[in-house]
Symmetry: C2
Subunit: 269 residues, 2 copies
DNA sequence: CTCCTGAATTGATCTGCATCAATTCGGTAG
DNA sequence: CTACCGAATTGATGCAGATCAATTCAGGAG
């Protein structure tokens, strides 16, 4: 494994704060692996033997039931996934599939669990990571239960904008049908939702979306810091309280709500 | 605080495995408090200063946006809530409101975070707890995105049955309008969903539901261990992998999916 | 270049669920 | 007991989003 990759792993909030020894224990037996696009990395119900660290490519997490399927999250580098299952040594609740060619570090779950027992700092890091994941899902549930599909799309676009550069052009990172499933709608409906947003200055051209009237779009979307992790807070500078972690499944990922920003600990920076 | 209550707190998976010293540190400054029904314990957006341990009564966690409100979870004793916010020292993403008279132990967040730094076993316990909460939410999202309202209700009833006694009579623990919001529908629609389930042998009489044809109900509901935490697994006895924790926000709670069982570590026991 | 295939769009229609409105039910205070 | 009030139910109607079907579009192979 290249030193460059090792540094990237070390830089994750999950690992950045721990002792060198702990890091060695935690990543003992880890191996880098490459997968072609469309590979099933993990099937829901399977025992989870590894913590996955996505170093390159895109991975989709999805769930199925009764012949239906829904995308739960889309991950982009660098992020870890299925930490919760690893911590509990439990079966996966989600399937993982590569959307494109991927480079993934596979860290044995045993090593992670051992390291947690050794170094309280690592236990704290894992806890903080999982807490961030949990809160990401809370946001997702609120997003889905409180908003309709056009509102979800509008917020997704604003989140992308915030993550990218806050400019007036935004690039979609996934196929529209995948995005549709992520946002909880059909591809047909996503198309129509995009049309509906033309009235608010949003125009799609393939993967490129131009936002000509951000104010109008925001008036519709009403982004909320308690749902959309990128949304601005009211009030003054926040303290440590603001340091919510997006290291794992949601970091850099246009995750469930698509609301998560790229930065692990930015926000009001 | 009564010794009896202290024992109940100590018995939570979050605390059961840690050293006495750690427990002392973690619960330093904790105080027991009583609240009448309908009290707002916490407003979303507020800083979270305490870990709450519900010892008696019922608490509802809900979220709001744009004048809409949705119930995210209903908690019953003994369970903790907003651990994630405490770990991150972050603002609450959900509001908490007592549904009835409640008795709650309020543990200062600082104490929790300090204890995590001291005792790796506590860090592990917190991680496991949060991992369980996270997985509960994954189940919830799958439940909502993959099932329609009648299917959700049917599974909710089967989950209640599994938690209670697996008999043919089940008691609803909450007002129907609260249950409706939890399941992501309107009260009117919940009524109609109950009517629809008459064809599957389910009859409601106030808070009492009789299930005369569990087989038919199951054929409709198709409970799945990867969504419904009570559902039977296929295959052989499970190992440690099976010990998913439902200590916190979901323990004994007819939580989001209503799928969580009463036992912390039962399942296949 | 053309052809081919899957993605995306567009239109027509259907349906699950929400909404609005009107009773009915059930628990509580007097 | 009766009166009252919020919860629950039931009915009528509307709408968001799913489904079905038909093009259109875009990318990759030959």
């Amino acid at each position: 494994m290249r030193a460059y990759d090792m540094d990237r792993v070390r830089g994750l909030p999950l690992f950045s704060d721990i002792a060198p020894d702990t890091f060695r224990v935690a990543t003992a037996g880890a191996h880098l692996q490459r997968f072609p696009a469309g590979t099933m990395l993990l099937l829901e119900g399977d025992p989870v033997d590894f913590l996955y660290v996505l170093l390159d490519g895109q991975v989709e997490l999805h769930g199925t039931w009764n012949d239906r399927e829904t995308v739960l999250a889309i991950l982009r580098p660098v992020s870890t996934f299925i930490l919760a299952a690893v911590v509990l040594n439990a079966d996966a609740l989600m399937s993982a599939r590569t959307l494109e060619r991927c480079e993934i570090l596979m860290v044995p779950g045993d090593a992670i669990r051992t390291a947690m027992r050794l170094d309280p700092r690592f236990g704290v890091a894992v806890s903080r990571d999982l807490a961030g994941c949990y809160r990401g899902l809370v946001r997702t549930v609120k997003n889905h239960k409180l908003r309709n599909s056009v509102e979800r799309l509008a917020n997704y676009l604003l989140a992308l904008r915030a993550a990218d550069n806050s400019g007036s052009v935004v690039r979609l990172h996934h196929e529209k049908r995948v995005l549709a499933s992520l946002l909880g709608m059909t591809p047909e409906n996503l198309s129509r939702a995009f049309s509906a947003l033309q009235a608010y200055g949003a125009n799609v051209q393939g993967a490129i979306v131009t936002l000509d009237n951000v104010a109008a779009l925001e008036a519709l979307a009403k982004p909320d810091p308690l749902i959309d992790n990128h949304a601005p807070r009211g009030g003054e500078i926040m303290a440590e309280a603001d340091a919510e972690i997006w290291s794992s499944e949601w970091n850099r990922a246009a995750a469930l709500t698509g609301a998560q920003t790229a930065a692990g600990v930015k926000r009001n920076a």
